[in-house]
Symmetry: C2
Subunit: 205 residues, 2 copies
DNA sequence: AATTTAATTGAACAGTGTTTAATTTTCCAA
DNA sequence: TTGGAAAATTAAACACTGTTCAATTAAATT
């Protein structure tokens, strides 16, 4: 019967409203300052209702962090057009950094803030599929690079993690404000220059 | 007169007690779960007293983050014994990573948690001396490497920041639990292997 | 001993995440 | 159309949070 289906749809709609409100508030105020009551106010419901759609605050931000990975994956899709694996790897890094620059809060949520990962750990999924699939994309590209003779003497896992760490390091130092307070030039410029250094190193590997 | 001096000493002693209690609680419960009331309980004073010694919670954790940098600097001191700048650079990375492994919470406070840096930004010091001096240590070492012919084609600032980013990236991904939930081997092992890959790259640069 | 100064407290304010009993609304069969 | 079961929603409470400030206590000085 159509009634049950409509109910489900309506339930999904409210769930969606909660997520949209949460995202709106999160982007403009950050994680700590986005409270359950704020979200409830935003959708004009009482705070309690949120707990009929989400286990806790962490689950809401786990869902939001998923949206972030969806967007990141979408941006990565164009990489299919790049044949040479080394060029693809380089482009991948650029996309990663650009995503982080344009969506600093979402990047924070995906790779720094503990809430979404605490949700993953709590239900003993023991696996973070969002991160895992993103890392696999990197790993398989690196693998293809190695088959073309790059990264000689390196191990696949190790060099892949190293590459991820490098771009994550640059981006997270910026996001957590450890660069702007440094007696060094313009933040975005130094990251740009550093990434170019990184590309140079890749070329020589 | 000795009275005024004693008073000052007593004031310093209580300030020290606060910091010691805060550190104790922070190490075993983390930043969010260390409240002003917890600290006050620990030293058996009322919560209000803390605000006669510190502007706010951020200042307490700024002071603690300073202690962290002191310890890190202390560990870096043995680097003076390493003549070859490239060997010194490599050892520096090891010390950095080891410090982060042995003092994960302190590293978190120094390079990820916003509280201490928010304190720096608030009073418009516009300069984060602790981070700045640590980065300068790295930069000058890299500079010496370049004078010995390494990192050809790179810019000092850029390659220095890149190196910092790399080790920070590895360490912070671990600390913020993005590695243990990944479908990859033992966390410490992959970081060890990645750092070895990093050393290999340095050798070839 | 009285007075000034400093140290310390307790209570209040406005907020937080979360739970639960009570209420309202919705649905469906008689 | 109505009565009762089921679902959705709320209001209130709990135990917290950082921070401020008037009132109190303790110490130092005259």
């Amino acid at each position: 019967m159509g009634v049950a289906e409509r109910k489900i749809r309506e339930k999904e709609e409210l769930k969606d409203q909660i997520l949209k409100a949460a995202k709106r508030l999160f982007i403009e105020r950050g994680f700590e300052k986005t409270s359950i009551r704020n979200i409830a106010d935003e959708i004009e419901y009482s705070p309690g209702i949120i707990y009929h759609y989400f286990q806790d605050k962490n689950e809401i931000f786990y869902a939001l962090h998923q949206e972030g990975f969806q967007e990141l994956r979408k941006r990565m899709e164009i990489l299919g057009a790049v044949e040479d694996p080394m060029s693809r790897l380089k482009a991948m890094g650029r996309i990663y950094i650009q995503y982080a620059f344009e969506n600093a809060d979402m990047y924070d949520l995906m790779f720094i803030i503990e809430a979404p990962i605490d949700f993953v750990v709590k239900r003993d999924d023991l696996c973070w599929i969002e991160g895992d699939s993103t890392f696999n994309l990197l790993r398989s590209t690196v693998n293809q690079c190695m088959q073309k003779g790059h990264f000689e003497g390196h191990h696949l896992e190790a060099i892949s993690f190293l590459i991820w760490s490098t771009v994550h390091g640059m981006v997270s130092l910026k996001i957590r404000k450890r660069v702007n307070v440094l007696d060094v030039g313009e933040v975005d410029q130094i990251i740009e220059n550093s990434y170019n250094s990184f590309l140079l190193i890749l070329d020589r590997s």
